[in-house]
Symmetry: C2
Subunit: 173 residues, 2 copies
């Protein structure tokens, strides 16, 4: 069995990059192939249809999501700070995949929506367990969603994270 992981992953990377930087209308098969440095025919060998490309991306996202939840659970700074700090785009592969999936979810791609929903449920379970308070856990998740939304919509505010930590600190005192 030949190892074709490399080209496959480069194609998924290119698809995600285009979704993130230019949106779903710009992420055409032509554009993805060009971004990955292969021909359209080359792309269609690995992913026989656009749906297959999407499915491949979502499958990889689920794996990355499972790893992220483990990192969150074991984070030295604790799950809450880890969650908030990684709600801003850190430039990681996982962030890119997450933002790309959000673009697809807004175009009603159900596989993307379901994967995001599952990852969010896993995050919430860790937050809920750690802070021991449902209302606070939900609020923290909402703040993370807000950070994420702003960051991925071009409304980035450098001081946002510090402000949030400040306010959350007042609750503990």
């Amino acid at each position: 069995m030949p190892d074709d992981r490399s080209t496959r992953d480069r194609l998924l990377d290119a698809f995600e990059r285009l979704l993130v930087s230019a949106g779903s209308r710009a992420a055409t098969l032509d554009a993805v192939a060009a971004e990955a440095g292969v021909s359209k025919g080359g792309l269609l060998y690995h992913f026989p249809s656009k749906e297959a490309l999407i499915d491949g991306m979502v499958e990889r996202l689920r794996e990355q999501g499972a790893r992220d939840v483990e990192k969150m659970r074991a984070a030295p700074q604790g799950p809450v700070d880890f969650y908030l700090e990684t709600s801003i785009d850190t430039g990681s592969d996982f962030d890119r995949a997450l933002i790309a999936a959000t673009r697809l979810a807004q175009e009603q791609v159900q596989a993307a929506r379901a994967a995001l929903s599952d990852i969010r449920d896993a995050w919430f379970a860790v937050l809920r367990e750690h802070v021991g308070d449902e209302a606070l856990a939900r609020t923290i998740q909402l703040i993370g969603d807000g950070l994420y939304f702003d960051d991925t919509s071009g409304f980035r505010d450098e001081s946002a994270l510090q402000h949030v930590k400040d306010v959350l600190g007042r609750l503990s005192s």
Copy 2:
């Protein structure tokens, strides 16, 4: 000068509805015309290009945004509760326009992005003035963004707003 406001607005409504319910890829001129109950030629009489349709939508959004900020300022429950309560999709025309513009902003439509940015700045100014604390004002805006993001991404949580009000109440006591 003939009054063509009615068909014009119906076209903009249809465009927004499609953006919200199906995403930007589905909001084609064909689909918008069909949704508004006119032919493509009819649409192109009012908006000679897709860019003109977008510009028309964004212009209307700015007017709605200015009215919303006034309502927020004068709200009986205060600006904070008004802001949080209307961060969830209330089904209003303004909510629809806002969500539609977010879809366009994520496809790098700069006019949509700029209008959203301006409206957000106006909201923040009212929050900032009312709570008198920058960190708290930013955190409230982030929570609103989180509510909005969840709601428009299909991650709606019925109890989210109550949880937020609960947690914010602890800060005042």
